[in-house]
């Protein structure tokens, strides 16, 4: 948007764009949530088309919301909990794979909270999936990395 208005990007935008560009060079498995996909489809194609072309929307596998509700007990908002739950229960219908390796965010507090509470989150997660049907036992927790962390890999 700022580029279209002949304005330089903000530092946060530079950080996000550069980490996105880097991630796109190391994997072709870039995912967005269904909600983001739906929103982008309603935006001006000029802006949305490149992102929609690079990414695939994840579907919600069964128990995604149940896990999201558990995550809110660790202090995550319901919006953040849904995104974190996609990291484990997001289904790529095309490749029939579930979950992602990492969720990339500009939200430092979200990443910090996830890191600090990780042992408890991990225990809660294991308790939950142990009681799920066999197909769900392969599910893992994703890493949560900030865009700034991604840039340290470049």
């Amino acid at each position: 948007m700022r580029l279209a208005l002949s304005r330089p990007p903000t530092i946060l935008q530079v950080e996000a764009a550069n980490s996105y560009a880097y991630i796109a060079t190391i994997t072709n498995r870039l995912y967005i949530t269904e909600q983001t996909s739906n929103i982008l489809k309603r935006r001006t194609p000029t802006f949305a088309a490149p992102i929609l072309a690079d990414t695939r929307p994840l579907k919600k596998a069964r128990y995604l919301r149940r896990w999201a509700r558990r995550l809110t007990e660790f202090g995550f908002s319901s919006e953040d909990a849904i995104v974190l739950a996609y990291g484990s229960f997001g289904l790529d219908v095309e490749s029939e794979t579930v979950g992602v390796d990492a969720i990339i965010t500009t939200d430092i507090r979200l990443a910090d909270r996830y890191k600090q509470r990780n042992p408890e989150i991990n225990n809660r997660f294991n308790d939950m999936i142990t009681n799920l049907p066999e197909a769900y036992r392969q599910i893992r927790l994703p890493q949560v990395l900030t865009t700034a962390t991604i840039l340290t890999f470049v």
Binding site: V14, A17, R66, L91
Partner: protein
């Protein structure tokens, strides 16, 4: 990733190959950001991927982009949030009907 050393005056020297690769010139401004990861140095401007996208647009598409950007910019914070919260997912159990079973192998 480059490792830099701070000298006694608090100055750091950017290696010449990085200066050349990034097209930096004397007097160019860089931003130093303190983050949880440490100090990050940002060069202003647009990344290659975004530049390539912008350069691929024809005049008409750029005009459309500019019009849409101006429209978005004129929105209040509340209206912008509303756009990004469209179809927000509920985490309540009643909303679970759209969840799908994992394929059994």
């Amino acid at each position: 990733m480059e490792k830099l050393t701070v000298d006694a005056d608090g100055k750091i020297t950017i290696p010449p190959e990085v200066i050349q690769k990034r097209g930096l010139h004397p007097g160019d401004e860089l931003s130093l950001v303190e983050s949880a990861e440490g100090l990050l140095v940002y060069q202003g401007g647009v990344d290659d991927k975004t530049s390539a996208w912008w350069n691929s647009l024809d005049q008409e598409q750029r005009l459309l982009a500019e019009t849409d950007a101006r429209r978005y910019e004129s929105l209040s914070e509340h209206d912008r949030d509303a756009i990004w919260n469209e179809d927000a997912d509920s985490i309540e159990a009643e909303a679970e009907r759209d969840e799908i079973d994992l394929p059994t192998k």
